[in-house]
């Protein structure tokens, strides 16, 4: 197997997707971690595709990672989201840890041991704004210590390491943040909130009181503000959108199968859902174009820190997130209208309940209202590029 080509990456992702699909219903019903799918990701070495080749990874670019997210999203959205969130954390290390001894050695460990990375950016009392922290990391000599009331750590109990934000020292302003890597043996988690939700149940995004101690060199030397602006926010919107595209694409495929089955039974008559299927196809194409344009924009900007931190880029990524999170709901709703009671019912080949419930998380993971508020502020000074190709 040639691990470095796009085709073989898609094949490996498809093998993981088959495993994820087999357990997707059970993961959803029980609200349990998609262990089988993550084991399959490890077996296919998907957890390290973004890591540089010289550190044992494959140096996959954002588009290749997004393609894997979308393939997984078509079978089990929770497993796909776990993969996406892991890759978003990996992007912080790849973009900001390559020149740092501890972090580059850690990336080699991720590849060797197929470690799963989780994120702890939310905190009780900050109202969902991840660019603020209350907790502060304490550095004493070459050791650091952190306690955080993390109201959400997705798959925290199943992760091998957690990348966690805090203020940079006890007197720092709430926006003066750093991000630190703690490995599983360096922290304890005391569960404070249970993730019993409408959808995305398998991400097991419980809340925890996090207590960690580690060597101080595990603090990423770049301010978190830069990490967020240059890799985390963009990769989040891109990879989430790729997962969401996967959910909508699978809903579309089910609706199309439903229409085709009806058409085959009654040749010469156009089935009633066919027109709506055409509408859904149009929406899916818009969604896909939006995601692909975002991926291209990131790829073009990624070498240029100024462009990545520009308002124009932030507006583009915000718009991608708003557009994809809203469009998938319309597409899945169309699919539901097409499949009717067979889509509404669980356990049929056309079931769409899980799709619809999972998709409802999209508008909320970083609230669309917050993102629109941010964009509206930026548009007070940033002038929208009105050229078609520019």
């Amino acid at each position: 197997m040639n691990m470095s080509t796009g085709a073989s990456l898609a094949e490996r992702a498809a093998r993981v997707a088959a495993v994820a699909e087999a357990h997707a219903g059970d993961v959803d019903v029980k609200g349990r971690f998609p262990q089988e799918a993550v084991d399959a990701m490890r077996a296919e070495r998907l957890l390290s595709i973004q890591i540089a080749k010289e550190l044992g990874g494959e140096g996959a670019n954002i588009a290749e990672i997004a393609e894997v997210c979308s393939i997984l999203g078509q079978s089990c959205a929770a497993a796909a989201m776990v993969f996406a969130m892991h890759q978003i954390k990996a992007s912080s290390l790849v973009s900001h840890g390559a020149d740092v001894a501890w972090h580059s050695a850690f990336m080699r460990r991720i590849a060797d041991e197929q470690l799963l990375l989780a994120s702890a950016t939310t905190e009780g009392g900050i109202g969902g704004n991840l660019r603020n922290s209350i907790c502060a990391i304490e550095v004493e000599g070459d050791r650091c210590r952190l306690e955080k009331d993390a109201t959400v750590i997705s798959y925290g109990a199943n992760a091998d390491a957690i990348l966690i934000t805090s203020r940079s020292h006890a007197e720092a302003a709430s926006t003066d943040q750093v991000m630190t890597v703690f490995t599983r043996d360096q922290y304890t988690l005391e569960r404070t909130h249970v993730w019993d939700t409408l959808g995305m149940r398998g991400t097991c995004s419980d809340g925890y009181l996090f207590k960690g101690r580690a060597p101080a060199e595990q603090i990423l030397p770049k301010p978190f503000a830069e990490i967020a602006a240059q890799s985390m926010l963009a990769t989040s919107h891109l990879l989430w959108s790729a997962v969401w595209y996967g959910i909508a694409a699978n809903a579309m495929a089910r609706a199309q199968a439903f229409v085709r089955a009806a058409a085959r039974k009654a040749p010469g008559q156009t089935p009633p859902g066919a027109l709506r299927l055409a509408e859904a196809s149009n929406l899916l194409q818009i969604l896909k174009s939006n995601v692909v344009a975002g991926l291209n924009e990131f790829e073009a900007a990624k070498a240029d820190a100024d462009r990545l931190s520009s308002m124009g880029f932030a507006v583009a990524m915000n718009n991608l997130k708003i557009g994809s999170s809203e469009t998938i709901l319309t597409i899945i709703n169309h699919a539901m209208l097409i499949c009717g009671i067979m889509g509404y019912k669980n356990g049929t080949p056309y079931s769409l309940g899980r799709h619809l419930r999972d998709a409802h998380s999209a508008q909320l993971m970083i609230s669309n209202d917050r993102i629109l508020g941010n964009t509206s502020n930026l548009l007070l000074v940033h002038k929208q590029d009105t050229s078609l190709l520019g």
């Binding site: 720092a172 302003a173 926006t175 003066d176 520009s310 308002m311 502020n377 007070l380």
Partner: protein, 84 residues
């Protein structure tokens, strides 16, 4: 010009520390400048100096410190010597 920028920062920056405690090349984001407040300062500067920031200057670096803001404004007004 720098004095005017400091005045605008004090009025619209929403910083947790007094602006006269901040030295020219200190990182304003680390000092607590939010993305919302940075836009309010840009608007106030546009109004005060009667200029418009082109999109290529609307990035983090242009507004990272009082010195950076001064350079950004100077690049648009062309009066580098008057600033000192």
């Amino acid at each position: 010009m720098k004095q005017k920028i400091r005045e605008l920062l004090a009025k619209h920056g929403g910083l947790p520390v007094a602006v006269d405690q901040i030295v020219d090349d200190q990182d304003l984001y680390a000092a607590g400048l939010s993305s919302f407040a940075s836009v309010q300062i840009m608007l106030a500067i546009e109004e005060a100096f009667d200029l418009e920031f082109p999109d290529n200057l609307l990035n983090r670096k242009s507004f990272q410190s009082i010195a950076a803001i001064t350079r950004t404004v100077e690049s648009l007004t062309g009066n580098a010597e008057a600033a000192e």
